[in-house]
Assembly symmetry: C2
Homo-oligomer: 283 residues x 2
């Protein structure tokens, strides 16, 4: 496929040539020769909800509005009953302010943060599992051929990962087509940016597939469930708690997706085996 | 090298057969055949400093005492002027309590956490750069042959990474010998466990090398600087802020270390080129 073909289905694709996303640094290679290296930018972005400072995230800095809205949505600080009025990004101050129609209940959540939490895998306020009790993700189907196509296309798409490494990607897909591909230093930021895009454009998760380069930890599974997406795919591996939560909410969890190999550890019922003997021998 | 040879230099090596560190889960492979998969455990551990609850970390669960002492040390909540009196782990409650001779100043730091922070890359209280102003890491040397030997030995050492994937490793080394190799779901936990081992055994960082499987982000560079270790090596890549901080504190920063290739982006002066033409051609 040509680069143009690869980018055709995307609503948002990575921008490896984006200004200020990478920086050129001079160093030495293993021979002691001078090399010029492209490295990922990482800078603080402070997120406000109305007049309350909520968090400072380390991010590459693209799509700050989506990151802010997605972070607050995934933390349960925004919902339909209290719509977002405006999102303002101040580049000089590295601040995003999300304003809602009325005040929110985040004060109580912040109190809980001080008392108990600050999960070492990203920052999680309040009870991590909040809002997941009784949640069952909608039924949907997923052809194995879609998985192969997604993995293949995503891996070939020009990205900061291919240009500089040291970055995670999250892609929201429909059937065999990747739609929005976000990258960031932390995998939680990449997925929050996708969540922000969904919330800002009223996108329904029930017929989508989420692909991530990061591991399938409890945090990733919880965020995906909160986004209403029933299928989560990763090129990386699993944690036991991630599998347990996926089981509980009825999510299809696919990991170690490389070439034409993968392992599915939860939600087998959604898979449609449309590739006869599609395994590694055809790689 | 045999497994026994590989483990000879270690004071603490990974324990891939450790009880409760992995779990066996049944799933499907890409052919739809049943597979049995080993996945990493991930469970909450709550750290107390005296009577104050500080943080809940997601961890594989080994060395909880080192994790607690290392986390608190790297957050600047423990220092020599206020020695640790006892460290108690309650397995049933998943709680570690670190007790010091006298009360500490952490209350003020906790206040700052509420107000500003909770960095998205792990949990960081107060000012991330605190204690780094004016810090210059001690001079030391590092032979390129040591780097090749370390990378080779660490990659071959039996580990949870080799057994189940989805885990990060951090290894503290002296010259060409790996000493303590910790693994955890988050790379910050693995490095905190090494820091806890150092603090608990009065280990000096100035003649050591730290190897990590994770990316060289600002957080990793800051933690390594706080541990007084002047050389940080990773098989993964860099962020621009990581390189900047390494430059500021005089740290040697080596990334993308694979086979006999690497890139050094800061602190070139420590490297001794004892391998003539030692690059990728001898791989």
């Amino acid at each position: 496929m040509t680069k143009k073909d690869l980018l055709q289905g995307y609503i948002i694709a990575p921008n490896p040539d984006g200004v200020n996303l990478t920086k050129t640094v001079e160093g030495l290679d293993h021979f002691g020769n001078t090399v010029v290296s492209q490295v990922i930018e990482e800078k603080p972005l402070t997120i406000y909800l109305n007049s309350q400072e909520i968090v400072t995230a380390m991010t590459i800095g693209d799509y700050p509005e989506y990151l802010a809205v997605g972070f607050l949505t995934n933390q349960g600080m925004l919902d339909n009953s209290n719509p977002v009025k405006s999102v303002d990004f101040d580049e000089d101050l590295s601040v995003v302010i999300v304003r809602t129609e009325t005040e929110t209940s985040f004060e109580e959540k912040l109190k809980k943060k001080t008392r108990t939490s600050g999960c070492a895998v990203g920052t999680v306020f309040g009870d991590m599992m909040e809002g997941l009790e009784g949640l069952r993700l909608p039924s949907s189907n997923c052809k194995v051929s879609w998985l192969y196509n997604l993995s293949n296309e995503i891996n070939q798409t020009p990205s900061l990962y291919l240009a500089a490494g040291a970055i995670h990607g999250t892609v929201i897909c429909k059937e065999h087509t990747p739609l929005v591909y976000m990258e960031d230093v932390g995998r939680h930021n990449a997925v929050d940016k996708v969540a922000g895009w969904m919330a800002s454009n009223d996108i329904d998760g029930s017929d989508k597939i989420l692909y991530t380069t990061g591991r399938l930890t409890s945090e990733m599974v919880i965020k995906t469930a909160q986004m209403g997406i029933p299928i989560l795919v990763s090129r990386s591996g699993f944690t036991a708690w991630g599998v347990e939560i996926a089981d509980k909410v009825g999510m299809t969890l696919i990991g170690r997706m490389r070439g034409r190999r993968f392992t599915c550890l939860a939600g087998f019922n959604r898979l449609i085996w449309d590739m006869n003997g599609a395994g590694c021998d055809e790689k």
